[in-house]
Structure formats: C-alpha cells, structure tokens
Symmetry: C2
Subunit: 409 residues, 2 copies
C-alpha cells in the first residue's frame, strides 16, 4: 500500500486525496491555510464544474450541492460588434458554480472524516524533498515561485509570456438569471469578454461577473479600479461597461439593486497561462508529480481549469491504483494518459485568448447560431476539451466538422 503526500488543498489535491481515501490509501494533504483561512479569504476565483466533474464528485461522495438546485442548465453565447451572433447550448446535464470558500472547506472536512491527514504548514522546495522521504509519492498541486520553478515551463505548449487579459471578477446582487438559468459568455470584439455565472455563495444565489479585458481595450479599466475607495463609482462603471459591451447582460441588471455582495467578493488581476512539465526528479532521486495549476495554468475564460484539475486528479488516482512502484515510469503513464484532455484544455483556452477571433471560430459560431442541436453538442464538449480541440485546432478540422461528416466515437 503506497503512502501519498499532496501539496495543496485546491480541487486537484482534494479530489485526488478523496479518491485515494476511497481505496484506503494513506494520504496527507499539506496546506498553508486552514479551512477557516480559506473560508475567510478574498474571492479566489469564479469556477464552474461541468457535468463530468459533477459526476466525479458523485463518485467521490461529495455531492453536497444538488445541481438541480444549485446548478444551471444552458450556456448562452453572444458575439457583439458589427455582425452580431448568438447561440444557446442547452446542457445535457447541469453544471454548477459554487464559491470555493464554501466548497473547499467542506471537502477538507470530508477528507479528514474519511481518514485523510490534513497538515498545515508552509511548503518550500526543500520541504518537498524532505516530505518525499516520508511518502511513496509527492504530488504538487499548489505553489508559486520556487516551487513552480521545479516544473519547467513547456515553451512548446505555452504561447504567451504575459497575461492576455486583465481580469476583474466580482459577485453581485441585482442581476437576474437568463432563461433557462445558465452561464453567459459574451464577446466584445477588440475589448474582451464577459463570463457571467449563476453562483452560490455565502449570501445565497448571486451572479459572478468576470470581465476579461484585452490590454488597451475599453474593458480593462474595471480591473484597475480601486473599489474600496469608491464603491459606488466602481459599480457604476461596471454597469456602464455592461451597457456599452454586453447589453444582453445589462438588460437583466436592475441598477437600483445592483451591487457587489461584499468588498472581499472581488478579485482583480491577471495570469499568464502556462503548461509545465508533468513531473520532476528531486535531488534525492525521487519523483514529484505536478497536478492542477502546477501542471497547467489556464485563463478562466472558457472555464476549463478546475475541470481539468479534477480530471487529472482522477487519472492520477487510477494510475496509482494500478502501479506497484511510483517511479518515473508511473509519472510517464500519468503524463500520457492525461495529455490529450489537459493539453487540449490549455490549447483551447489559449486559442480563445487571441486578440482577434480566428475566422474558423467565427464560422463555427455562425453555424451554431440557428442550429440548436449543433450548439448543444458543442457545449457538451466542454466536458471533453480534447473533442473541442479536434474541431477547432485547424480551419480544416472545423470545416470537416461542419461539413457534417459523421463524428465517430
């Protein structure tokens, strides 16, 4: 029976830890924050779990939030600008957006109730080496700076050197949900995008609005505003940006009721997408596996990061069960098995960050505007980003797909 050490208490580390506990494998999760710290923190993200991730949660026995109640049922898409497009993809099974300050502490409690060890400590590279002597495998699912440096960036899969969007995500009251209840992803060509999620947080059902502002465009302003110094001015500006760029969302916002839920329910910044090597050989000859954000950092625009991390945790868990020895060959197997989905999620996310949408993306969107079945199929593929990349990775592929060739398997 191997003994596994996991650095990080995000979705990747917790899903892996819970998976392993289901198979009675000893696991310790190392975290630099207590569940209380996590619950009391600033909004960490805005994440949707797709159907396939909810299925994994069911299998892990952590489905505490019924997606029929907490979830949503459609993806609404708008491309604004001179030739507007829109399509709606009904989901074949609900997705769900939940505040991670609620989600993660609950899963930590589940993990501990099921015999997992939760160990609070700051972890540095030298800590990882010493922890590797106490476990059969170290999985690194969190960390920045020096720890991230242990897993070299893969230049062939990391096209960007800087953040491609300035981000501003907040939780708001006063925006009614679209019908059917769903997320919306809207594009304002040249300026960026808005991702809107019906999200469950401490104050109940609210709306997450994530502005993805192209540097130099009209949307980046909200990412740089100091909300604390002028809360009213900030909300006014947000409404103005909705008005100018995303009228379909603005018309569901009630200006009188519109406000940020709490000051800490706002996150502004940006991130540079990166794909790192799957594993590293430690100075003592042992191996550490990268998981979740340590393996791939994705811009949140198309909602793939957490789902990819959960999938990757699952593949890692299954491979641990099969293997006798958690050595380099084990790491290579995990790398190979998760490659298509995790690298496709990264490639698709990066593709969507181009400053100008690729013509074949517009061709696909145009085809979905007026073809609900095609749209339904496409949004279902958000569960399998490798299928999206099958369709979008080249113009030839998009055209072959649209030509109605049988899409086998």
């Amino acid at each position: 029976m191997p003994d596994i050490g996991i650095i990080g208490s995000g979705i990747a580390g917790l899903h892996l830890g819970l998976f392993l506990r289901q198979h009675d494998i000893p696991v310790t999760i190392y975290s630099d924050r207590t569940p209380e710290d996590i619950g009391a923190s600033r909004l960490p993200n805005s994440v949707a779990h797709h159907r396939s991730t909810l299925e994994r949660e069911r299998a892990l026995g952590v489905e505490h939030w019924d997606p029929q109640e907490y979830g949503y049922f459609a993806n609404h898409h708008h491309v604004n600008g001179p030739t507007p497009l829109e399509f709606r993809g009904d989901l074949r099974g609900p997705a769900r957006a939940l505040d991670y300050r609620i989600y993660l502490p609950r899963l930590i409690a589940d993990f501990q109730e099921r015999g997992g060890t939760f160990d609070i400590r700051a972890v540095k590279p030298e800590t990882i080496v010493s922890l590797s002597e106490q476990h059969d495998l170290i999985v690194v699912a969190a960390g920045k700076g020096e720890i991230a440096g242990m897993f070299p960036r893969r230049a062939d899969r990391s096209p960007y050197e800087t953040p491609q969007r300035r981000l501003c995500v907040g939780l708001y009251h006063g925006v009614s949900y679209p019908d059917p209840k769903g997320m919306s992803l809207s594009v304002s060509p040249g300026h960026g995008e808005l991702l809107e999620l019906p999200l469950h947080s401490f104050e109940g059902p609210v709306t997450a609005l994530l502005f993805e502002g192209i540097p130099g465009g009209d949307l980046e302003q909200v990412s740089g505003m100091d909300q604390a110094s002028d809360p009213t001015g900030f909300e006014k500006t947000v409404l103005e940006k909705l008005e100018s760029h995303f009228p379909q969302v603005r018309e569901r916002a009630d200006a009188a009721r519109f406000h940020l839920t709490r000051p800490e329910d706002l996150l502004q910044g940006g991130l540079t997408p990166v794909v790192r090597e799957d594993y590293t050989r430690l100075p003592n000859g042992r191996f550490a596996l990268a998981l979740g954000d340590m393996h791939t950092v994705l811009d949140p625009l198309v909602g793939q990061g957490a789902n990819s991390a959960s999938y990757s945790a699952w593949v890692t868990g299954e491979t641990i069960l099969e293997e006798l020895t958690l050595d380099e060959r084990f790491c290579q197997k995990v790398a190979r098995r998760r490659a298509d989905r995790t690298l496709s999620a990264a490639a698709f996310s990066n593709f969507m960050l181009r400053r100008e949408a690729a013509p074949h993306l517009i061709e696909l969107f145009s085809a979905m505007d007026g073809d609900p079945e095609l749209a339904e199929e496409f949004v279902d593929h958000f569960n399998r980003p490798e299928r999206i990349w099958d369709i979008l990775s080249t113009p030839q592929r998009t055209r072959a797909y649209l030509a109605g060739q049988e899409w086998r398997q």
Copy 2:
C-alpha cells in the same frame, strides 16, 4: 472518406491496409517487390505471432493457418552456465511462426481481393512527397537510408549505436520439437542466446534456429561462416555450438538428419535497435507517419518486432477511423496511443541485449523456475510488453511484483 498511401508491404503495412479495407477506406500499398519476389527471396527473418496478433488476424479475416495445427503452445526457457535455471510457460492461447515468404504474399492477395491497390515502385524521399499530394495520409512502414533519415532517431529511447548481437538464423530439418510443442529461448551467459521456433515453411514443419552471438563470444562464429562454400562444415559447427551452449536443444537434434532446409533459408547479419520519431512534417507541409520498422527496429531476441508492428497498425487504423483530418494532431494521437506498448517492447528488447543479465532479471527467472503459474503469467505478458516493462524496468518493480502484491488490471 480519407485516402491512405502506405509505403511497404510487411506486416505493418499489410495489417493497416487490410484494416482500412474492412472499413471501405481507399488504400494503396507501395512496394518495391512483387509478391513473387517476396516468395522467392532469401529467408527474411524468423518471426512468431503471439496470441494477440493472431486475434488481430482473425479480426482481419486472414487467419489462413490454424494455430492449433501450425502454432505452438509453450515457451521453454533455459539459462545455462554455473547456476542453471529453467522454466516453462504454457501459453494461454497458441502462438504461431510462419515463413514470411508464404505469409506476406498471401496477405497481399487478400488485400487486393478486398479492393486494395498494390503498386510496385521504388520509393525515395521525393517520391513520398509527391505521393503525399495524392493521398490524405502517407504511412511509411518500410525503407532504409534516406527514407529512414526522414524520421530522426530518438536518442532517449535508443541506447545502442551498433548491433549488440551477431545473428544467424536458418531453417533446419532434424530437430524434434520440445514437448509441449513450443519455442525455446536459451541463454549461454557471456556468449549469447538461441531462439528456437517451430516454424512452418515451404517444406512444411521445420525448426528455425536463431543464434544471437555476443560480439567476441563463442557463438558469433556461425554468423560469419560462408555456408555456401562449406555446407557440411557449417552444419557441423551449428551442432557443435548447440552441444557446447544449448544441450537441451542439441539433445533433440538428430545429427544424421540435421541440415539446413535450402541454401536460401539462411540469414546472417545484425541490426542496431533504434526508436525513431513517430511522424515527420514533409517539405510541402503534409505529414507522414512512421509504422513498424520505420518507427522501432527491435532485435529479434524476444520476438516483439512483428507483434508491435501489427499492434501499431491497428491503433493507427482505429485512429484514422475516428479522425476528420489526418494532420499533426492525428499523428500525435497515434503516437500517444501506441507509445506504452511499442516503447515498452523496444525497452524490453534492449534490456535483454545487455551483455550481462541484470540481477533482477535473474531473480525473476529464478522465481519462475518452480512456479509454473508465475511463468504462465509472465509468458502471457509477451502479448502486452508494457506489462513486462512494468515488472522489469527497475529492480524495485520486480521485487514488488515478486512480493506477490496484487497486480491490478
């Protein structure tokens, strides 16, 4: 419907061609030899098809040689020298060794009867580029020199720069089969190995004896002898080598009846194992996929080459069926799907070529000497060399395996 061009009419090209024809995909096989040329050639190899390859032949509808009649049922293993070891692994399904000068022409006929185009021509790198304009994909399953140079050698997977054995394989009368009818693989430490196969050839059931002589050892002599100038002396030397190194085979040879079946039923030489890149981008931007020997060249010692080629053809065929566009992403998928088995077959073959057997290999052999169930399981893994590599790639893995841990999946 894609159109596929295949360079090479060995097992890789033919199994792929037959697979695609089963799905009505247009295929042309380019060969520099007619079926008659192939049938009249010098002995090209000594190849056994394991159970999993015979299953693919059944699925392809080319099982013309009933393995109950033409096949064999056990692997007999001997390690001679100061501390002799032996074990026998009964096969869970028969394997079969058949002269490729009979096998390949028959499969070419099948391929043509099923609508495949068989095109005789010499193929050079520039021919491949021009053929790539006529097909949606070019698969290169044969070729040397400049063509092989199109697929760079992977140094990380190719540990040897020179042949590790001097080879001498011939077909012989006068050697009775072991009981149960089977192949034998015997080791003479420091000198090399003998692979004995009950093989069906033009003269019916005969015995293939493949000497694998370590350079500088006592077995390499037979690889350098000129059989034509002294047929009797050659056979006498072969018998002497059996006597000195492989008494278990010698005792089944009747000196009075022992002789090479025909002068052309002898092949002497050596090969350098190599793993090449899975695919290449042609100067015109199209892609060519390496298959079979163009992808991995294996020493024949552990009988993995043809089986790996057939498997690789199958994976390639399945991936072609799934894909809309046969581009770089397609090539990467094939590469990823076949990697574990084909690279494990190469790693295992290369591992067995070490001049001195690894101690953990001897540990495993010792454990099988006296444990028929373990031996049966191990020889069955010849169908799945990735499983063999799971067990043998490190001493820790072998010990964990032998410690009787549950071997899951």
